[in-house]
Amino acid sequence: MYPSDYRYTKEHEWVKVSGDTGTIGITDYAQHELGDVVFVEMPAVGAKIAAGKVFGTVESVKAVSEIYAPVSGEVTEANALLSATPETLNTDPHGAAWLVKIKLSNPSEASALMDAAAYQAFISEKEASA
């Protein structure tokens, strides 16, 4: 379920590192909690995002959720698919519905995040105590 080559945050974002490029999205757990996504607000190309800080919002029918950057860098691409069809975030959150691609300012930041097994354990514990 959770790709083994991604890294995960406690706020349910993921990052996939490829050299000095990072692809960022939200996890399946996050999209399920949100419900039907109707609007996604993302930073412009060239914007700088900082690890742990809000960089966008995902809006569902019932609520707005802030998205926190898992790692720092400069936005090189925002996913046009989500402007056209925001609901893709519900069906393919780990694949086609990535949010932004960035040029990493500090590639080692990702290693401090949870791996797939740790994230899976983290959400299992959340669900058990809910």
Binding site: G35, D36, T57, S60, V61
Partner: protein, 345 residues
């Protein structure tokens, strides 16, 4: 699951959009057992109902219901409700879950005529089945010819062998029924309707869809469009406010306000770009703050983002451009006529 007025209720079963669309195109099933029921009985029943509510209950025939407001002395809303006339000496009120006890207390405090009143919420469960296929699905379980129950009328009959009050009412803007029955039959009726309906596109619906459906149909929600600071004139509910019927709580204030005119009025609006206005967002007109959004959300069937807000009466005309504070943005919107959605006849 969330706490709604003290009740543990689902926000959604399969997804708000799917449930909303099912109700508009096939059918939706709602467990609305949290709603309150108050029985008013005896030779003074009508007098009491007339005294505490703004609509004219003397116009109801046996088997008929109407939408009304429980009023304060200031002509503002204690609650909105449905009044059903069961007989000349028996009225059945359906009130909001969150206001059940306050409503009962209010009625009790103003029961100078000595009618028999009962806070009957614990004796009733309620299911709503709404949508173009609702009648067909419900009919399979009842020998009562449902099509003979006109809109805003009700009948006593059996559904799947269970005694029910079957009312052709609802909170979605679709045709459909709300059925009231003793709680021990709840699971049986829920399962029966769900099973029968699933082959026809019926989905169980939670609070999320209940809200998007009523908002799309421009129906008021207590605590949002109406509360104890708003009058029926301000809320666009003048049609339930019958000051000519005789004296009732709040009547003098209401007559005064009608003559003076209202300073603010409830309007509907549509967002012009992708941003969505939410409850509480500030509405500005001509650059100045003018009011707040009372309810705002996507309207899934219309595929628009809509809402309602109070604005100064001078600015109420459909077509008026307004702007709404959404996070750091000023989102453009336009006042539109209500209802946003009206079902085809």
């Amino acid at each position: 699951m969330v706490d709604f007025g003290g009740w543990d209720m689902p926000v959604e079963y399969s997804g708000i959009v799917a449930e909303h669309m099912a109700t508009r195109t096939a059918a939706g099933l709602f467990d609305v057992s949290h709603m309150g029921e108050i029985e008013v009985r005896g030779p003074h029943a009508l007098q009491l109902v007339q005294h505490v509510s703004c609509n004219d209950a003397s116009k109801l025939v046996v088997g008929q219901a109407h939408y009304s407001g429980l009023m304060t002395e200031r002509g503002t809303f204690v609650d909105d409700l449905l009044v059903h006339k069961i007989s000349d000496t028996h009225y059945f009120l359906c009130v909001n879950a969150s206001n059940q006890d306050q409503d009962f207390e209010h009625i009790r405090a103003h029961n100078g005529v000595g009618a028999q009143i009962e806070n009957a919420g614990a004796r009733y469960s309620q299911l709503a089945i709404q949508g173009p296929k609702a009648l067909g699905i419900l009919q399979r379980f009842s020998t009562t010819p449902l099509d003979s129950i006109r809109y805003y009328y009700f009948a006593f009959g059996k559904v799947d062998g269970v005694d029910c009050m079957i009312a052709r009412t609802g909170y979605t803007g679709e045709d459909g029924f709300e059925i009231y029955f003793a709680p021990e039959h709840s699971e049986k009726l829920w399962s029966a309707l769900l099973d029968a309906g699933s082959g026809h596109g019926l989905l169980p619906c939670g609070l999320g869809a209940r809200n998007t459906l009523r908002l799309e149909a421009s129906m008021c929600l207590y605590g949002h469009e109406i509360d104890d600071t708003t009058t029926p004139w301000e809320a666009g509910l003048g049609w339930i406010c019958k000051t000519a019927k005789g004296d009732f709580l709040g009547r003098d204030e209401l007559i005064r306000q009608k003559e003076k005119g209202v300073d603010r009025i409830l309007v509907g609006f549509e967002m012009q770009d992708r941003l969505i206005a939410r409850d509480g967002c500030v509405v500005s007109i001509g650059g100045s703050p003018a009011g707040r959004v009372t309810s705002g959300s996507p309207a899934p069937f219309l595929k628009k983002n809509v809402g309602m807000a109070y604005v100064p009466t001078a600015s109420k005309a459909p077509g008026t451009e307004i702007s709404i504070g959404v996070r750091a943005n000023q989102a453009p919107a336009r006042i539109v006529p209500m209802p946003f959605y009206k079902r085809a006849k």
